[in-house]
């Protein structure tokens, strides 16, 4: 039996509208609200609570939870489930994310909608399990081999862990691409108040299923029914007899590995289907940008101490602002370009040795000063540490 999203049952399983829960559990809630019916996962701190939360709740909404043998198997099963017709997700942390990289690229190449929650911890290697970091931001963008476009969101609150997981499913379904929720250990292990949206306020996007005549259907080309570079989805078992391969393929899906134009055509379509929509995708929060001369560009957990530092400075009359990237990939470069022409200085606090500061510098193109404010070791920046950057120290 195929899964059918049952809003009433989901809400019964989620419980009260207002709750005080962990960020990891909020990701579970987001998945269930979006209609996720398959979770394949493998235990890893600090993401295990996502798997545990799914193991408890997914069967109760008639979905399927399987603890796979490793993270490679987890993402593989998640992609398989998507082709079987499910909305599917997995959750992991740094080492598991590294293991998933090959199949992450497979999902890109085969245009498979799926969601990966990464509750980041410090690295490299095993690093500091349980302690948060933002060290995988570039891995989400460049971690698998070859040319591709990533879609990644970075929550700064537990509420956003839930909301962004719903959004991740929507974007995955819309663009037929894997989407990462790049939470950090801080968010995963933080307990906060969340409000579960009512069904009428919930925006749910589902992939467009293939409906046209089976003889006329072309699986890997622009949609044949809409004006879109995203093809309609021929779910396995619906009679379309689709061949899906990670090899460079022609429009029919058959291997076409020896000619340059075939590869260029395919990869340009699966990247521009995302970059063409950069304006629609861009999702930022702007604080005090009207008069600010020094601005924090932030995301995830590090937005919180940055906001505190900004408020401290504002109280003293300093013209400080903040641009928070809710969607980090594709990079909202137009927002950065606009900002660079207006401000004197951009400070980028990150729980890594400087990752998102690089695309910021790339798009600032020397128009203003860009300062990296790194902190590693599993601790968040303290507001006064960031405040020092505002004093130019």
């Amino acid at each position: 039996m195929m899964y059918k999203r049952d809003p009433e049952l989901i809400r019964e399983v989620l419980g009260k509208k207002v709750q005080f829960i962990l960020g990891d559990i909020a990701c579970v809630y987001g998945g269930l609200l979006a209609g996720c019916s398959f979770f394949g996962g493998y235990p890893i701190t600090p993401a295990s609570e996502v798997a545990e939360g799914m193991a408890r709740r997914l069967p109760r909404v008639k979905g399927t939870y399987i603890q796979m043998e490793d993270e490679i198997g987890s993402i593989a099963a998640v992609i398989g489930a998507a082709w079987g017709g499910a909305k599917s997700m997995t959750a992991t942390s740094g080492p598991g994310f590294s293991l998933m990289m090959e199949n992450y690229g497979y999902a890109v190449m085969t245009e498979t909608p799926c969601v990966i929650v990464n509750i980041q911890r410090t690295g490299p290697s095993t690093g500091q399990p349980t302690l948060g970091a933002q060290g995988d931001m570039m891995q989400a963008r460049w971690g698998t081999h070859g040319d591709f476009e990533a879609i990644a969101l970075a929550p700064s609150t537990v509420q956003e862990c839930m909301d962004f997981t719903v959004e991740a499913f929507n974007l995955a379904e819309k663009y037929r691409n894997p989407v990462c929720v790049m939470a950090d250990g801080e968010m995963g292990d933080l307990r906060e108040r969340v409000v579960i949206p009512d069904e009428k306020d919930l925006k749910i996007i589902n992939r467009v299923p293939a409906t046209i005549d089976k003889d006329k259907f072309i699986p890997f080309t622009n949609s044949q029914t809409r004006n879109s570079k995203v093809p309609d989805f021929p779910t396995f078992g619906t009679g379309y007899h689709t061949y899906v391969t990670g090899l460079t393929h022609n429009e029919k899906g058959f291997p076409a590995t020896d000619k340059q134009p075939d590869h260029e055509k395919l990869v340009k379509r699966i990247t521009t289907k995302i970059t063409d929509d950069i304006d629609k995708l861009t999702n930022v929060e702007k604080l005090y940008l009207d008069d600010a001369k020094t601005v924090f560009v932030t995301y995830g957990a590090s937005a919180r101490p940055a906001e505190s530092a900004m408020e401290m400075a504002r109280a003293k009359g300093k013209k400080i602002g903040m641009l928070r990237l809710k969607l980090v990939w594709p990079f909202p470069f137009k927002e950065i370009q606009k900002l660079a022409s207006k401000v004197d200085k951009i400070i980028v606090p990150e729980m890594n040795l400087g990752q998102i500061v690089h695309p910021v510098r790339e798009y600032v193109e020397g128009q203003c000063k860009v300062v990296s404010a790194p902190k590693i070791g599993g601790e968040m920046h303290l507001p006064h540490e960031l405040y020092k950057y505002l004093e130019g120290k």
Partner: protein, 291 residues
């Protein structure tokens, strides 16, 4: 006149015309395995709209491309894990995995082990040619001792992996091994595997004259098939000789590779168990129990 099924008719029915010709070399056994699979599918009358072929990387993993059905050609070694997800999303689908010795027992060993242990409902057809053929003949985990490979130029000193023994120990419902030189019983085995709930694995010894045969004095395909006949023995016969045979017979037999059906049991498959779990939860809900 009764409708006589011929390989040609089956090919027309089940092959995907657009993909012709195949990548396979002269003498390769993969086509034979595909043919046996078609016969089994035909006998069972499987609905090809509801059958998904999954594979990893390697020559055998190219087979789904030639079949007129849904196919997922995945990453190296991971086919079984992908297949697990497909089945989970839609348990009504029949799942057939084509994989090779390197794909299945080398890089993909972990997924094989756990799918067999979980008794995931799928049929794995592992085509064992003792080599990594697509990449030019490197050493495979199943290669017999002494085999020459590009990465074992002085002869293989590693003990070969008996995949059937492994999968049997894990409690899979159906485990069999044949060579492509046997015409009838392998078809019956594929059919039995497809009919089974839970995990079934059928291993085929299948020649790779190009990458394995050439280096191991089996480049001539007739010689290769004869080598199978000379070096394999039916499990029933093997057991008989080991029990009642003379010392000389035992000595001659003990190193032969066993073929036949090694396991044929009825344990509930994973998704049957999962359905029960779901039903239990819904019954509890109906009774207003703890949600």
């Amino acid at each position: 006149m009764p409708d006589i099924k011929t390989a040609d008719k089956l090919n027309k029915k089940y092959l995907r015309g657009d993909m012709w010709p195949t990548i396979f070399c002269n003498g390769c056994g993969h086509g034979v395995v595909l043919d046996y699979t078609f016969w089994a599918i035909e006998e069972l009358g499987l609905d090809m709209d509801k059958t998904v072929f999954v594979s990893g990387i390697g020559c055998s993993s190219r087979l789904p491309g030639y079949i007129n059905a849904d196919g997922l050609h995945t990453t190296h070694g991971r086919a079984i894990a992908f297949a697990t997800g497909i089945k989970a999303a839609n348990p009504d689908l029949n799942i057939i995995v084509f994989t090779g010795d390197g794909d299945c027992s080398g890089i993909g060993g972990n997924h094989l082990i756990h799918a067999a242990r979980r008794n995931i409902d799928m049929t794995v057809i592992m085509i064992n040619n003792f080599t990594y053929g697509m990449t030019g003949g490197q050493l495979s985990p199943t290669a017999p001792l002494g085999s020459i490979a590009t990465t074992a130029p002085y002869g293989n000193i590693e003990h070969p992996f008996d995949i059937c023994e492994l999968v049997k120990a894990l409690g899979a419902n159906y485990v069999a091994r044949w060579t492509v030189s046997h015409p009838y019983r392998p078809m019956k085995s594929v059919k039995a595997g497809l009919e089974k709930k839970g995990f079934s694995l059928i291993e085929f010894f299948s020649p790779c004259p190009t990458a394995y045969g050439r280096r191991n004095k089996l480049g001539d395909i007739k010689k290769h098939w004869k080598w199978y006949d000379d070096n394999t023995i039916l499990i029933e016969e093997y057991n008989k000789i080991m029990k009642y045979g003379s010392d000389e017979e035992k000595e001659k037999t003990k190193n032969k590779m066993q073929i036949g059906v090694f396991q044929d049991i009825e344990k509930p498959g994973f998704f049957e168990q999962y359905e029960k779990l779901l039903k239990g939860l819904q019954d509890k809900r109906g009774k207003g129990g703890k949600k």
